[in-house]
Amino acid sequence: MELIDTDIRPWSAEEVKEQFGDSLSLLPSNDNIKELQTILRDKNTTRSDFKFYADRLIRLVIEESLNNLPFTDCEVVTPTGALYKGLKYGAGNCGVSIVRSGEAMEQGLRDCCRSIRIGKILVESDTDTHEAHVVYAKFPEDIARRQVLLMYPIMSTGNTVKQAVNVLTQHGVKEERIILSNLFCTPAAAQAVVEYVPRLKILTSELHPVAPNHFGQKYFGTD
């Protein structure tokens, strides 16, 4: 127990706000979410549990990410004949997953937006230089005029995401119209991405100095 390093701990929402302003937001935390994160962190978690609880956390992160999409006020009539003041989400959104781990989040998005278009980007890192370059990208044709929900669960350096954003901007997507959905992020990666594309919005469930890099392998069972 004495081995616990008190510096290796997640950032609080206040610390995140102070450091990153509105560029990065945390999924509002509660004990339930912390338990999900604990199970994903635990090296003794079985694969079946890992996938089950990862999917639950992904669903919550996706739901929270959707809050960043544009909406307009609207009024509807309820079956009781009363007026309800609600919100309407605009059309013209799409998801983009970064292969491979980003694809783990596709189902979560599908569960929330049934027929949403989903593009893919494959970014490969050079094992020696850690430099990332895009190998493959396929998007909906009109992606330039869409809001993009970029999905990538684990960020440790931010290089992959920077390259993915590059590809998107090359396809005409405006930086401020990209929302990055993320499960675990390191402060270094967050800093790198925010500096690179300051108007992009990042949503993560935890900002922590150590990223659970085993995520993709354990989720897909290729470890």
Partner: protein, 545 residues
Amino acid sequence: MAGKLNKFETPSSASSDSDTELALELSEQVFLDEEDYSRAPASPTTVPNVRSYRPPSTGSNIAKSPRARRVRTASMSQSTKRTAAESILHADRRTIYTAGRPPWYNCTGGQEVEPFLIGICGASASGKTTVAAKIIESLNIPWVTIVSMDSFYKVLNEKQHVAAERNEYNFDHPDAFDMELLVKVLQRLREGKKVEVPIYNYVTHSRESRTKTMYGANVIIFEGILAFYNADVVRMLDMKVFVDTDADIRLARRLRRDIVQRGRDLEGVLKQYMTYVKPAYQNYIAPCMAHADIIVPRGGENKVAIQLIVQHVHKQLQLEAHIGQPLPDSLYVLKDTPQVQGLHTFIRNKDTSRDEFIFYSKRLMRLVIEFALSLLPYSHLHVDTPQGFIYQGRKCDVEKICGVSILRAGETMEQAVCDVCKDIRIGKILIQTNQQTDEPELYYLRLPKDIKDYRVILMDATVATGAAAIMAIRVLLDHDVPEHNISLVSLLMAEIGVHSIAYAFPQVKIVTSALDPEINEKFYVLPGIGNFGDRYFGTEPPYDE
């Protein structure tokens, strides 16, 4: 009407009368207050009013009239024959519990909202009961307790009993009432506690061994001829209503009732009136008017006055419930994010197709179930990570958790709870409203074995009055599930339902994704979702328009 009139024909029978305190029909209001003017102690008409209340001054000539025996037909006196169902009042299609919350509503719970205590004072035959009934009818509140001062007559000793037999005992005098007990009972009711109200037997002039059980309620109405006589009682009353009906009308009502319906002779009725009833009014009842907040002339037919009273009570209750006593601590509302609002917009819109209704309500259910899980107790847990450091995490303390759905709409939430809790056990409760009595009844129950060891997530899609949820909670408690182990989870709740549930079961966690302010006369939440079960399962009746 004929059926009712027949019951009045036997003046000596104290228990045969109908339960007219609960009758709401306007046409019957003339007879509503019979418990006051049916008293038959009488004395010579010549005795001056001021002295007439003194027992020694009462003559005995009234004994000549065989019908002049003291007659009690007050509704309270029939409690012996009354079943639980009879203390339930039906106005339109609403059910009002006039004995406060029915037994299964009463639990270990503490008081959350202080009841509003209305005192109604007025002369005999002035129409107090009609006014009380009309107030209840217009209040639209599920739980009301009516306390009649008649229940608090003193037990008579042998000598007094004989005097009463000869109609020489003054029942209109303040000394005839057990004020001490009355104050105690009102005090307890005001604190929301269960009380045993005595049942007075007007034949033996003693209290029966049985008592009438009353429970705390949102509104307590206390009525009686001397309702404002005792200073302690007056202090407790939140609102004091004096029903002021002209003396000639009151006398006319007594004459009509006692002579036409009870076959008594004119002389006896008049003597009784002059000896006891009229002096009591002048000496004790009329001075009470000074305490009144509002004086209602013409009794129950004064619609404007009753409307004013109802409005005031509503306002006070709302102040108490929503400002003075804010929403209960046991209520947890899902954070109102744009997505949650967007989902609500879909499912509340009457033009949403069923396909979309199901899809979007399921998304909302998932969120609300995840939220409900976050409210369970957790403790710290340190785990080893593949990255070699120790992660300080959390673990839910609850080992056994199960879902219980309230049929039919609650079942729609089962999938969501199964999606987040692996291999969760699901119980079911079917509660239906009995079409005859409008009472919720338990039709079907399947619960996991040893449910007492489980943390229970009780599911119902919408909560309007909270009646079904309260009954379901009661069923769980009967199966030894501790109250604090129950979470009631719903997509939409009405505030009145939340207050009712929290009032009855303060330890139950109430979790919802939205709180609506009102319910309409069909018990649908406003603005609401409509009938959730019908829309989800596609069984809605065809449109009338």
